[in-house]
């Protein structure tokens, strides 16, 4: 920010202008002070200039060479000459054009004319001598306006830990207190606690992405000890399935896929090691600051290891074109991908919008985009041998993994590109932090003598993973909250800027953020606090639903727990678990899910392009499913798996008929129904016992009498006259298939 301001003027120019203008203004002020009402610049004029003029007549983009950000530049006028004649509004160009509605110009055919009051203020200000406070320079970001966010934007303010009365924070009471405060203001009360079977089913899906068995539910229902629930929470948080479930959410955010896209759609070798790194990091409760640092700069940290270098695979997961039309231009596309994934994942801040111009809605000058981009510039962004797939060589990296490192410690300077145009280089931009986020603004310094790399990414990582950074801790606790409740405290979890949503519980967000930092950035603690809260343990039904739905239909104020549809992964994993086929092996190379021939027609290379893994591999959890950019797995795509071209913190949840078609007719689902039926047939002898078993396996509970009768009737109808084994088996496959399709199977209360 300051950099760019300073660059716009040479100091010689500045000094001269200031001198002459101050003299001019002082004289005119004296002359007119008595004839017009005094208008306060800061409260009346600065807001008009900032909100209505500065976007086009500012220091970086001075249309008509008019820059209204300072006394000097304003007095210098523009191409049309001076714009203000102090004391004489009628002959001041600035006033004339505003009065006549010429400025600000129409936008998409709509007049942008200043209000009468604003015009009157300008008039009085000019007539009273156009007084401009000494050294006052308008900063386009100094305050939030009706059109854009400024430095005072809520998410840029330091995290402020609210006072809570609840003593013991470990039981989630502080969460409840902070939620209650807001909810009470709206005259709403929370729902009663969920019944025990619902609660434990919710907890399982939420923490490990798998359903509990009926026996596990029964045990919980029968456990009368005070800490029965907490015991399950602790067990699930400690289970390896926890990391598998939560890693998938992070994989969406980091645009995880295992191929490059484009013509060859080549496999990114060993990308799965990054996925395993995430799973292990979450399972071992790696502190979040370390989690950030290793992904951005695992090659530059002091205790660098193969594992920390694998973490830098974060920077290798994007699309990569091995045959770009113009390699010189393409390296800037790669920079955008890296800036975008970094600032979205860790900061929820749309820095990429400032690639071609200052951000239209948030305080992100174009130079800030390049300050961050400069951290990636010393890496392999330029076009090199195709075999390297856009990354460093094994020698450069030091390990034979998919990772990132600088390929020089003395990179060429990175120049800002005017309008993002590679042929219009602007000033060189130093590597550094964003300049409007937090107080800890820094230019990155040269690396130590011994370093092979620039240490820019390391400095960026340390700047991000810093307790003082107002975005980092808020963003991650909000992501955790979102996946526990379906919606974040800030519902636009990738965008904490002006165009995003505001937090429904600002105090709660800050309390969680400060709690994360105070707890050494350990995330499992935050998970536990959340699931231990009454807020989380509410029923999905509130007795006052009818009234509340009119007041707060979308449950912003958490007067119930929102029922949720399973995502594609949990759905597939649940089907496998129910059919008894689920293979819980941890980690390792991904499996290729079977894809029907019809769907494979979408590939340009038919033979050998896609070979499904053998069946014993495809029974693993969905997090291990190979993600190919040229072809999504139809069953997963149908259930809203997101596109992997850019980061996604929140998937769409749609309800469409093709999902019904997939669950009714997909061959894989049919095979699972068969396996499920065989499991039932083998597990019990009488029809009644089999019905019970089927319900317990699929829905983790016993069937009601009505359900029992319905099932019995279906089996009979499907069998028809015939009573041989084949007919019985077929009837059971049908019943099991129906259970996979029920709302209860796919929704969690």
């Amino acid at each position: 920010m300051h950099t760019s301001f300073c660059r716009s003027f040479s100091s010689r120019e500045w000094g001269w202008l200031c001198f002459s203008i101050v003299v001019l203004f002082s004289i005119s002020q004296a002359a007119h002070a008595q004839t017009a009402a005094v208008v306060d610049f800061d409260t009346s004029i600065a807001p008009i200039l900032i909100e209505r003029c500065l976007e086009c007549h500012g220091p970086l983009d001075a249309n008509g060479n008019l820059n209204v950000s300072s006394l000097a530049s304003m007095a210098a006028g523009g191409d049309s000459g001076p714009v203000i004649e102090p004391g004489k509004s009628d002959t001041s160009l600035l006033f004339q054009r505003a009065r006549d509605g010429e400025m600000p110009p129409d936008k998409n055919g709509a007049s942008q004319k200043l209000s009468d009051a604003e015009i009157e203020l300008l008039k009085s200000w000019i007539d009273s001598g156009a007084k401009w406070p000494d050294n006052r320079r308008l900063d386009p970001y100094e305050r939030t306006t009706g059109k854009r966010g400024g430095r005072d934007w809520w998410s840029l303010q330091p995290v402020k830990r609210p006072k809570v009365d609840s003593g013991n924070v470990d039981d989630g009471n502080a969460i409840d207190e902070l939620v209650d405060r807001v909810r009470n203001q709206h005259g709403l009360t929370k729902a009663p606690q969920a019944d025990r079977p619902s609660l434990v089913r919710r907890l399982y899906f939420d923490l490990i992405g798998l359903p509990p068995t009926a026996d596990e539910i029964d045990a919980f229902v029968g456990d009368t000890s005070d800490n029965a629930y907490e015991k399950i929470v602790d067990r699930l948080l400690a289970s390896t399935q926890f990391g598998e479930k939560w890693a998938r959410h992070w994989m969406d955010v980091v645009r995880y896929a295992e191929t490059n896209g484009y013509e060859r759609d080549a496999v990114k070798p060993e990308a799965w090691r990054y996925r395993d790194w995430v799973i292990n990091a979450l399972n071992s409760d790696m502190p979040y600051d370390q989690f950030v640092t290793e992904q951005l700069a695992g090659d530059e940290i002091e205790d660098r290891s193969e594992s920390s270098v694998i973490a830098t695979g974060f920077l290798r997961l994007g699309t990569w074109d091995d045959e770009p039309n113009d390699p010189a231009e393409y390296q800037y596309e790669r920079l955008e991908d890296l800036v975008h994934v970094t600032t979205t994942a860790f900061l929820g801040w749309t820095v990429k919008c400032a690639r071609c111009h200052d951000h239209k809605f948030d305080p992100i000058p174009q130079t800030d985009y390049y300050r961050v981009a400069a951290a990636f510039w010393p890496g392999p962004v330029a076009h090199r041998q195709r075999e390297l797939l856009g990354g460093p060589s094994t020698e450069e990296l030091g390990y034979n993994v998919l990772g990132w490192t600088d390929i020089t410690r003395t990179p060429a300077p990175l120049h800002l590109l005017k309008k993002g145009n590679v042929n219009r280089p602007g000033p060189e931009v130093p590597s550094g932090s964003l300049t409007t986020v937090g107080k800890n603004v820094q230019d990155f310094v040269a690396p130590p003598e011994s370093a092979k790399t620039t240490h820019r990414r390391l400095q960026l990582a340390h700047w991000i993973a810093n307790p003082e950074n107002p975005l980092t801790s808020r963003i991650i606790v909000n992501r955790l909250w979102q996946h526990h409740f379906g919606e974040g405290i800030v519902r636009s979890s990738d965008n904490f800027g002006f165009t995003g949503q505001r937090p429904t519980y600002p105090e709660l967000l800050d309390w969680l953020a400060s709690e994360l930092v105070q707890g050494g950035w350990k995330m499992k603690r935050i998970h536990k606090l959340i699931v231990m809260s009454d807020t989380y343990q509410q029923s999905s039904q509130n007795p006052l639903q009818k009234d509340y739905a009119n007041v707060d239909a979308n449950n912003q104020y958490l007067w119930r727990y929102d029922r949720r549809r399973l995502n594609a992964e949990a759905l597939r994993d649940s089907i496998l678990m129910t059919s008894g086929q689920l293979d819980l092996r941890l980690g390792g190379p991904s499996f290729m899910a079977p894809i029907s021939d019809e769907a494979l027609e979408g590939l340009s290379m038919k033979s050998g392009a896609y070979q499904a893994s053998p069946p014993n591999e495809t029974r693993r959890r969905s997090v291990y499913m190979f993600a190919k950019r040229a072809l999504g797995v139809p069953l997963m795509t149908a259930f809203d798996v997101c596109d992997s071209a850019s980061p996604t913190g929140r998937r769409d949840v749609t309800i469409v008929a093709p999902q019904a078609l997939a669950l009714m007719n997909n061959q894989w689902v049919n095979e699972q129904s068969t396996a499920f039926a065989e499991r039932v047939l083998a597990g019990a002898v009488s029809e009644q016992d089999r019905i019970t078993l089927a319900w317990r396996l699929a829905l983790s509970r016993n069937p009601s009498e009505a359900e029992r009768q319905a099932a019995f009737k279906h089996l009979t109808d499907m069998r028809g006259e015939s009573n041989d084994d084949a007919a019985i088996r077929r009837a059971w496959i049908s019943l099991c298939h129906v259970l996979f399709n029920t709302n209860e199977f796919i929704y969690v209360d």
């Binding site: 009706g146 484009y262 013509e263 759609d265 074109d321 039309n325 975008h340 749309t350 919008c353 951000h359 809605f361 919606e487 519902r491 990738d494 965008n495 800027g497 002006f498 165009t499 995003g500 949503q501 039904q541 739905a549 239909a553 979308n554 912003q556 019809e598 027609e601 979408g602 590939l603 340009s604 290379m605 950019r629 040229a630 072809l631 139809p634 798996v641 596109d643 071209a645 769409d652 949840v653 749609t654 309800i655 469409v656 008929a657 093709p658 078609l661 009714m664 007719n665 049919n670 009601s704 319905a710 279906h714 499907m718 496959i733 049908s734 399709n741 029920t742 709302n743 209860e744 929704y747």
Partner: protein, 491 residues
């Protein structure tokens, strides 16, 4: 609610979304639209706080920005890049320069580092067609008979010389993977008119998909329900449409009856069950689609004359002929956007004529000429041409020079190529723009892919600058910040 409103007034709608998102989530997808309507018809939404939403469901047929007669679009994508100087861009000067080298002042990227041969004239003669006398080569004798319907744009150019990125660009506007495709934008903007069929259909060539695959018909960052649906032109056209072999339709009916019973019990125990009811209803819709979608590809009601005109029962036109006929049936049934690929896989299996233009284009044009002509005739005869926009073109063109001695093929050329449009709102029998005298680069009235997209949206009644989707802090558009409507080709 416009995005402008959202910025200043971030009111949360049911499920914590903006109004627009809320509507999508309730009714996204070709089947979702009908679903929402069905439920609304049942008075279902009246019980809900979100009753007001259904009337503005943007997935239902939605008014265009301004009036347009065009309801549907058929995009005939000649995958691989047809040679303009051998098809629609008549360059007699090439006769004069035949055998010479490309002038050194013509700068280009030699894609794939292939051999650079000699300037080579069109391998088949050009002849005037129709009243307009548009010059079209003997690769397209039957399309030539429809010259008066075509607006041929000779001055197209794109940003990249590689198939992978150029295909993605012709489909999404940019050579980078991840943006929504043209068909997604169109269905997002206009919704869909037939609830039993997808609004955006892609029919591939049997030889394979286009290079880069799914990113060519992806919905990118707009909801997945706007993604193109791969459609097979026979039997059961949509993936997972047919019941498995073990259960027939009667069995499925019994399954669905049991399902409905179980779901109802589950629903009765719960409040605020819009999502549950919607999902239950989606099964009935799916069940109906199973019966009705195959009807769209069942040609038994077509006359023998029609079938023969498309060349469905003869080679080499059988496959593309069938696809064109299906395309007509789809737009007749209200499908919004149909894309047909000619050529699939790689190299000579597509229009990628590196070896021999005569051999390659002879084969591919031979497959499509009659079907395309039949499609134009048939649409016209049924009064559908007025409400349909037909687009023909590839991802780029080809060089005016060969690949060497005895290699009468041509390399990729993103600097100049031809496309044509026909149908409602399009001035027929005209050409627009010019390449240089060699047919190498667009020179007069240059038309970028963004301009084509802007024009297509315009013809369908949409302003490309207003068709936006708010994504990661920005109002995204098909044309990014570019695009000019080619006014001269409009009626």
């Amino acid at each position: 609610m416009s995005t402008e409103d959202r910025r200043t007034n971030p009111i949360l709608y049911p499920c914590g979304l903006s109004r627009r998102q809320a509507i999508w989530q309730m009714g996204a997808g070709f089947a979702g639209v009908a679903l929402t309507h069905m439920l609304a018809g049942d008075g279902f939404f009246d019980q809900l706080a979100m009753a007001g939403e259904t009337t503005q469901n943007p997935l239902a047929p939605k008014p265009s920005h301004f009036p347009s007669k065009i309801k549907s679009c058929i995009f005939l994508l000649m995958n691989g890049g047809p040679s303009q100087v051998d098809t629609f861009d008549y360059k007699p000067a090439l006769e004069k320069y035949a055998g010479q080298s490309m002038p050194t002042d013509k700068k280009y990227i030699n894609s794939g580092g292939r051999a650079v041969g000699f300037l080579t004239p069109a391998v088949r003669p050009f002849r005037p067609g129709g009243q307009s006398g548009l010059m079209i080569s003997d690769f397209f004798p039957k399309v030539r008979e429809h010259a008066d319907k075509l607006a041929v744009i000779h001055s197209c150019y794109t940003d990249t010389h590689a198939h992978g990125s150029a295909l993605v660009q012709i489909n999404t506007g940019k050579p980078l993977i991840g943006r929504p495709s043209l068909g997604s934008w169109v269905t997002y903007g206009l919704g869909s008119e037939n609830q039993d069929l997808p609004g955006y259909v892609v029919i591939l060539d049997k030889r394979g998909g286009p290079i880069s695959g799914q990113p060519n018909w992806t919905s990118g960052f707009i909801p997945a329900s706007y993604q193109g649906t791969l459609f097979r032109p026979a039997g059961t056209p949509i993936l997972d449409l047919a019941a498995s072999s073990s259960f027939d339709r009667k069995d499925q009916r019994m399954q669905l009856d049991l399902l409905a019973q179980l779901n109802e019990q589950h629903m009765n125990e719960r409040q605020g069950s819009a999502d549950l009811a919607a999902r239950s209803a989606s099964y009935e819709l799916a069940f109906r689609m199973q019966a009705e979608a195959p009807e769209a590809v069942d040609l038994s009601t077509e006359s023998a004359t029609t079938i023969d005109s498309y060349g469905v029962n003869q080679e080499p036109t059988a496959e593309f002929g069938r696809n064109c006929l299906i395309a007509r049936r789809l737009v007749e049934r209200g499908v919004r956007f149909v894309q047909l690929y000619s050529g699939g896989g790689h190299l000579e299996e597509t229009w990628d004529a590196h070896e021999s233009v005569e051999k390659n284009h002879g084969r591919h044009a031979g497959e499509v000429d009659q079907p395309i002509a039949a499609l134009l005739s048939d649409l016209e005869a049924r009064g559908l041409l007025e409400s349909t926009l037909v687009i023909w073109g590839g991802e780029f063109g080809r060089m005016p020079f060969s690949e060497g001695v005895n290699k009468p093929g041509r390399n990729h050329n993103p600097y100049g190529f031809s496309m044509w449009l026909a149908g409602g709102g399009v001035r027929g029998g005209m050409s627009y723009g010019e390449t240089d005298e060699l047919g190498f680069a667009a020179e007069t009235n240059r038309v970028h892919v963004h301009d084509i997209h802007a024009t297509i949206l315009h013809l369908m009644g949409m302003d490309h600058t207003r068709l936006t989707y708010f994504h990661q802090g920005r109002d995204e558009r098909l044309t990014d910040v570019y695009g000019n409507v080619i006014k001269d080709i409009l009626v």
